[in-house]
């Protein structure tokens, strides 16, 4: 019994919260671009937040579930359907055997996450499930899903008493992702070690102007349209960079390094994105406009802490709701 790929999407891979501990070997952490969404969908189905999820880009794969499962989708809105009928984002859904999950129309965002309570039966590589496409390892065969791939599920659960004869049942609670929907169009960034290399005008411009995500925007990094100027050309020896590092390229363009960034780089690190705002950035795609706002280390840390608190509360709430749900149904027999 497994999850079958009936039709492959453009880039659907298995991800988790990243592979840490091996950057000294040049092995980058990778992991989900929108780690907030990846954690929330896992929590919704009662999984640990570090469990493997599927990261989907649009057009996405079409999935056949050969067994009864509980799933949740969240992140970008690609109009998910089960057997042609809409299912909501951020809600657990129990689906019957041989149901088809499909993503019919792009509505919003760049990356959608699928969590499965029965869990994908794949091996960890160096402590993580995430796919390293460049090294063709991790995840499912180290690559994106292809047509006819079959991935076994680890567990089997009996959902007959919930489903009765229906194709699917949407459980009646939804994760509160409020903080993400607030009008923080402005992505908080902290000046980096080479900030002073920018001219005074460029330093103003970065917080004043819009930047447009360029056509070169993928899991490795986003090129931004709109140039900044350096005071002087600067040769830097390679040093460590991270998810969210903003580098100034020799042509004056900015690049924000994303989940599949290299471990080291030699361009000036003029700033970095507050990690709590990386999920916002992860849902942007070519053509989207973004604005930055200035913050400092202290506030970036506070944002991260608040997000963490929010996730912990969600986790407790999800656990409570699932337990309550099971008890009510079983109690009614």
């Amino acid at each position: 019994m497994s999850l079958k790929i009936i039709k492959a999407g453009v880039l659907d891979t298995i991800q988790d919260l990243g592979r840490y501990g091996f950057q000294y070997l040049g092995i980058n952490p990778g992991g989900a671009m929108d780690r907030f969404a990846a954690q929330v969908v896992n929590m919704l189905v009662g999984n640990a937040s570090c469990e493997a999820v599927v990261e989907l880009h649009f057009p996405s794969s079409i999935f056949l579930f050969e067994q009864e499962t509980m799933i949740a989708v969240g992140g970008a809105d690609f109009s998910a359907t089960i057997n042609g009928e809409d299912i909501p984002l951020w809600q657990p859904v129990i689906i019957a055997k041989n149901s088809i999950l499909q993503f019919e129309k792009w509505k919003k965002g760049a990356r959608c996450y699928l969590a499965i309570r029965e869990k994908l039966a794949i091996q960890k590589w160096l402590g993580s499930y995430c796919t390293n496409i460049k090294a063709t390892t991790g995840g499912f065969n180290g690559r994106a899903f292809q047509k006819n791939d079959e991935i076994s599920l680890k567990e089997r659960n009996e959902y007959k008493c919930f489903l009765k004869d229906k194709d699917f049942v949407i459980l009646p609670w939804q994760a509160d992702i409020g903080w993400k929907e607030t009008p923080i169009d402005r992505i908080a960034v902290v000046p980096g070690n080479e900030w002073e290399l920018l001219t005074k005008e460029s330093r103003k411009k970065i917080f004043r102007d819009f930047f447009v995500i360029g056509s070169l925007a993928d899991r490795m990094g986003y090129r931004l349209q709109g140039t900044l100027i350096a005071k002087q050309n600067c040769e830097l020896v390679s040093s460590i960079v991270s998810f969210g590092t903003i580098q100034l390229l020799p042509n004056g363009e900015l690049i924000v390094l994303m989940a599949d960034h290299q471990t080291a780089g030699g361009y000036p690190r003029i700033a970095y994105v507050a990690s709590a705002h990386l999920p916002l950035l992860a849902q942007k795609q070519p053509g989207d406009k973004i604005r930055f706002r200035f913050t400092n280390q202290e506030h970036a840390e506070e944002l991260l802490f608040l997000q963490q608190q929010h996730l912990l509360q969600l986790q407790d709430a999800c656990k409570f709701r699932l337990e309550e749900f099971y008890n009510t149904v079983h109690g009614g027999h």
């Binding site: 460049k134 090294a135 902290v190 840390e301 802490f305 963490q308």
Partner: protein
Amino acid sequence: MENSASYKIHFINDSAVAIDFGNVIDREINAKVITLFNYLTQHPIEGMIEAIPAYSSVAIYFDIPLLRKKISSHKKVYEWIQNKLNQLMLTEFAGLQTIPDLIRIPVCYDNDFAIDLPWIAEQKSLTGEEIIHLHSSRQYHVYMLGFLPGFSYMGEVDQRIVVPRKPEPQSILAGSVGIAGKQTGIYPLNSPGGWQIIGRTPLKMFDQNKAEPCLLKAGDSVEFYSITKDEFENYQSGSA
């Protein structure tokens, strides 16, 4: 203290810090980096996720939510980290340097693999044999790994074979040995790359199936020795 004047602490993001010894490629500074990295690996700081050595800096990733729970609430984690690292830098690392492992790497400098050797020969008015001899007759130091899993930045090559990177990256096959500036390195995977290619090793620089997936690590010493194309092919089919 000699240490205190010679480093700077700055944040790479809200969860990672660099201890930076200056923007240079220098054996002594890199030796400091590697000693500090080895020390941190053996004596991890509270809340540390990993440490990563670069040419002249060591980056350290921290578990911020964990540290936030552990330290008193009125104190910011980043301040705690800064203090902790300043304390750490008072440690006397001088005696902790280890003898580097020496790894000998076979390279086939045959024209079929050494796609940029003729160009270098022309630029530098050297014969192919002279370039091969210069490249394979000294010991290199592995400064750091980066760019790709297992990609090693080694130096320095003989002044006579220092060549610039290519203006545009080309696709390069795994095992290719290249030169860029004073550096030499080996591509562990098929990848786009801009280094000038002078040969290929039959060794697997990166093997995902091994517990230690990369053949080299920062701090190693490396020697190249020339092999024929026959030896290269036998190496691939035969020995491990």
